[in-house]
């Protein structure tokens, strides 16, 4: 156990986290402590934006853990993110209480105008923060567990697995679109008021959420580090490269995959839960297959199989999106599409891979015992 | 016919071949030997064009082929039986053989009957997928596939690996037959010393990416060679 904990703290990781957390801390403090007139004041806009990026980074991390390290290409990871988001959203909805437009103390507005008699059973308990937080982890985790249990035992691999994860998220999207499901249909859950008694629209709460996201990301990063640096990490990498061979060594591949898949889904759920209060809405389009594909794209851009890569990729691509949609609203897809194409052609191992290659060339050395990023394993 | 002069070859940062030179004449069998990992396969890869050389020249009939793509070299008559067989797993045995047609003018696109005399098992298995064959059967298929292209230079990378003794003998006989026809140059990479000795007209021995010994087979000092093959 001690080994497991300590493994998380390697030098590169510490530096990376240190820089990341430092920047976030400065950002938060400058928003809170400096007057708005100060040139160093961080606008609230930036706080929520960065908060959102951090939750995306955590999500990307969760995908990288299974894709980069275990070779499971999930094209449906958005589903776990969205489920976590819905769990949080349901809590926030319940927090509204009678402040909704219809003033109904028990029912969220959409239920009132769709004539619900009472709260559906699956909404019970979400008024309690701890319960909702448990669900944030448990629901995605349970879905991943059940899904993975079947799929990995049946030895569904490669594109077949990718496509059924896509089918899963697509089915969930259609289901959540259905108004009868009791999750607000297409409009989803919105109009949140406060969290743990803090006003969601106040800057301090926003900074708090930013810090919470950073903490979650750091924790996720450390867990991933620890997992991937353990022997377990080597086993899942072996599964990625030669699944059958791993089995002949006596490893129960399905359990190894299931464990990492479930862990990853829980991380995605947490990311979703932190995302929702910061963007103020959760709606079924988060389940859209395209969203899940985008997550994979972030990871690929950053560099699959390196944890920093996932984080950097998620932040960079989303920043690019924010930037381009504002400055080049009519043609930004050219820029983003071009970025993706360019990244594959010129940065075959992602940004981090490219940076590392550059570093190795400059210094002419390679971390002993640490191979360069391996050739991409074939599916 | 095939002249390799002073080639260097690297895998990323590590250099695998250091100034390797070879000559393979038509109507002869040239044998390349050496321990594991000394660069035999790398040499063949350089010749067929599967891996670029960083310097040096490879000539076929006096014309440099360095700039040619693998398929062009194949069409000029270089055929390759790779280590590890590299059968097209989902193509049937027949289709595997027919891939060699790409090198042939339309009129010559058929599988020579004598191939099946050499490897009768293939005839029975024409409809089976290459990947389903046993290891030795695949090895036989790989050799047959190379012969379909009617090559002028035949590169064989450990062709006896995994093949039953009786067929090894047959293969030996075929190689002799092909040599005796006089127009084919054969480069044989082999670890199985006796087999190599029986066939070779010329030999080269490699160590750590370099040719360390070469000569006519009948002038070969067996102990000298064996020394280089021992660890």
């Amino acid at each position: 156990m001690k080994g497991f904990v300590f493994r998380a703290f390697d030098r590169g990781g510490m530096i990376f986290l240190g820089i990341l957390l430092g920047v976030i801390l400065l950002l938060g403090l400058s928003n809170q402590l400096l007057p708005a007139s100060s040139p160093l004041h961080a606008p609230t806009y930036m706080v929520s934006l960065v908060g959102k990026y951090l939750t995306y980074a955590l999500l990307a991390l969760s995908v990288d853990l299974i894709w980069g390290y275990c070779g499971i290409l999930s094209l449906g990871h958005g589903a776990f993110f969205a489920l976590g988001g819905y769990a949080m959203g349901m809590h926030l909805m319940r927090q509204i209480g009678d402040r909704g437009v219809y003033g109904n103390p028990d029912l969220p507005d959409f239920m009132v105008f769709l004539n619900y008699d009472g709260l559906p059973w699956y909404w019970y308990g979400f008024d309690m923060f701890w319960f909702a937080m448990a669900m944030v982890v448990l629901v995605p985790g349970a879905l991943a567990f059940v899904f993975g249990w079947f799929a990995f035992r049946s030895r569904v691999t490669g594109v077949y697995l990718s496509i059924i994860t896509q089918a899963m998220t697509f089915a969930l999207m259609l289901a959540f679109f259905r108004n009868n499901m009791g999750f607000g249909g297409n409009n989803g859950l919105t109009d949140f008021k406060d969290i743990l008694g803090f006003d969601l629209q106040s800057d301090a709460t926003r900074v708090g959420l930013l810090f919470a996201s950073a903490a979650a990301l750091a924790l996720g990063f450390l867990i991933c580090k620890s997992v991937t640096r353990s022997k377990y990490g080597k086993v899942i990498a072996a599964v990625r490269d030669a699944e059958a061979r791993t089995r002949f060594l006596g490893y129960r591949v399905d359990r190894y995959k299931l464990a990492v898949f479930t862990l990853s889904a829980c991380m995605a759920g947490v990311a979703g839960a932190l995302y929702v209060p910061q963007v103020g809405i959760i709606n079924p389009s988060e389940f859209a297959p395209a969203v899940s594909i985008e997550i994979v794209v972030w990871v690929a851009v950053g560099g699959r199989g390196t944890l920093y890569g996932a984080v950097i990729g998620a932040i960079l691509v989303n920043y690019a999106k924010t930037y381009f949609t504002g400055t080049l609203p009519d043609v930004w897809l050219f820029a983003l599409g071009g970025l993706f194409i360019g990244a594959t052609l010129f940065l075959p191992k992602g940004l981090v891979g490219a940076a590392r290659a550059l570093w190795e060339r400059r210094t002419g050395r390679r971390d002993p015992g640490k191979p360069a990023l391996g050739p991409a394993p074939a599916e | 016919m095939l002249n390799v002069s002073d080639i260097n070859l690297s895998y990323g940062a590590s250099q695998a071949l250091w100034g390797v030179s070879l000559d393979v004449a038509p109507g002869t069998v040239t044998c390349l030997m050496g321990r594991n990992g000394v660069g035999k396969t790398s040499t063949l890869r350089a010749i067929v064009g599967q891996h670029p050389v960083s310097s040096g020249e490879i000539r076929l009939d006096g014309n440099p082929v360095n700039a040619m793509k693998p398929f062009e070299r194949a069409r000029r008559g270089i055929a390759f039986v790779p280590q590890g067989r590299e059968i097209f797993p989902l193509l049937t045995v027949r289709e595997n053989l027919e891939t060699g047609y790409a090198c042939l003018p339309r009129a010559e696109r058929h599988v020579p009957e004598d191939l099946f005399e050499l490897f009768p098992v293939l005839k029975d298995m024409l409809g089976r997928r290459g990947g389903d064959l046993s290891g030795g059967q695949q090895q036989q298929l790989a050799i047959a596939r190379a012969l379909v292209t009617r090559p002028r230079v035949l590169l064989l990378d450990e062709p006896t690996e995994g093949i039953q003794p009786s067929i090894i003998q047959d293969i030996g006989r075929v190689i002799e037959l092909l040599r005796d026809r006089g127009d084919m140059a054969i480069l044989l990479v082999e670890q199985y010393f006796d087999f190599a000795r029986d066939l070779a007209d010329r030999f080269y021995v490699m160590d750590r990416g370099e040719i360390v010994l070469s000569g006519k087979a009948d002038e070969m000092d067996e102990d000298d060679v064996r020394r280089h093959l021992t660890v």
Binding site: A175, A290, F334, F340, P348 | F88
Partner: protein
Amino acid sequence: MARFLALLFALCLCLPAIEARADDLTGLIEQLNTDDYAEKEAIVAKIAATGDARAAGALTAFRDGDLYSRKSDGKVFIARKAESGRDLLDPITGEFVENVGSRDARRIGVNNNLRRAIDSALGALTLLAKDPKVRRAAAASLFGSPDPEAIASLDQAIANERDEAILEAMMQARAASVLRSDLDTATKVEAVRILAEKGGRDVMSMLKRLPADAPPELRQAAVAAIGDIKDRLALWATAQNIYYGISLGSVLLMAAIGLAITFGVMGVINMAHGEMVMLGAYTTFVVQEVIRNHAPGLFDGSLALAIPLAFLVSGAVGVAIERGIIRYLYGRPLETLLATWGVSLVLQQAVRTIFGPTNQEVGNPSFMSGAVEIGAMTMTYNRIWIICFAFVVLAALMLVLRGTPLGLQMRAVTQNRRMAGAMGIRTDWVDAMTFGLGSGIAGIAGVALSQIDNVSPNLGQSYIVDSFMVVVFGGVGNLWGTLVGALTLGIANKFLEPFAGAVLAKILILVFIILFIQKRPRGLFALKGRAVES
């Protein structure tokens, strides 16, 4: 003979009367220039009552929205679109009167009620027309808008009719009108019998519409007829469902075939597949635009032209993508997802920039419009053609893959690119051709899909998920699998839809795919054995 003479006599008697009422007709038409729809309906009834066949032109124009009033004096004309503005024609004689600016004349509004009234009036007026087509249409339209007033004209027409089929249609139209009339019960029961023989939903609807206070024997006859028709319909419903399933399946197949090449054979996770389909659809649009503007007469041939062009356009773009991007990624199949995703964004935006973000109109050629009824089964022509087309494309593709050297080389290259090169296969050329072929076929699919769906920059996105599902469900790399997969999903969907609803049916299908893959982790037509693992 006697009847004929009598008729002739009757007609002669009528003639002067009609002549005398010509001004009446003009007057009535003039009165149509009002905003009150109820009033217009009354006037149409009056025009019909004149029995004057010359009113047909004006009424047809009215129904089609071509009747205009001149703003300057309120006079009513038939308008034709002219080079500039409109040509006004005399409503009765059809003679050219003058050309006016497009804002100088006002359309006389027509609504559905009026159209119904006009149809029945026209029916009555054109029952005796020379052209058998017109007579048949008149009978059909009278059947559609039965009118007791028309019984007399129908009787007259029936007496004259020689054509068996038209006669039958007229009898049916008459029966329909009889049911609405206050004729005696026996006649009505006979009418029910005639209608029951025809069968179909429209008849059922007619029979159900009988008033509650109808005489018992009539009711009885109607109930029996309805039951009879229902039984026949239930049988047809199953057939219909299977047909819908095949039709949906053929659309899925069409959308997926190209992907079965680029993804199934080559292993490229081709996220830009949908955009190749879209390019094909836009090619169709451009072809049709050009034809509309330069050779409107050739419109029906537009698809014949669009198919090869779409193949070339999408194929060329595919080759460009392969040469420019994909070829650097062999051996890194997952990276193709990233690159092709980028390509798909770029292509979508490019189309949006060039053609605009809105839907483009792609028309059905006349042979693809409408439907054929077989029994109680409706089969729309566009879908019938798509079914045929999908199968033809699939067959052609199988021929290429199994029967040509290129097909063998494609498979060899994708299974072991390095070794294929050593066998003398021009791998880069084969790669480009394979990707081009897959893309080109996607382009052809675009032509087909443009006939049933939106042509917009989003077109591709709506098919990409389904296409992957089909290919994977059928088993990657197996065209038969793609075929069976598409049809299975199509038919399953159509059998679920009636009771589960469209949304739930789709969800159930997805769940079914997930479960199915558990049973067969490599799809429906999985390859087995060592070969697959190596």
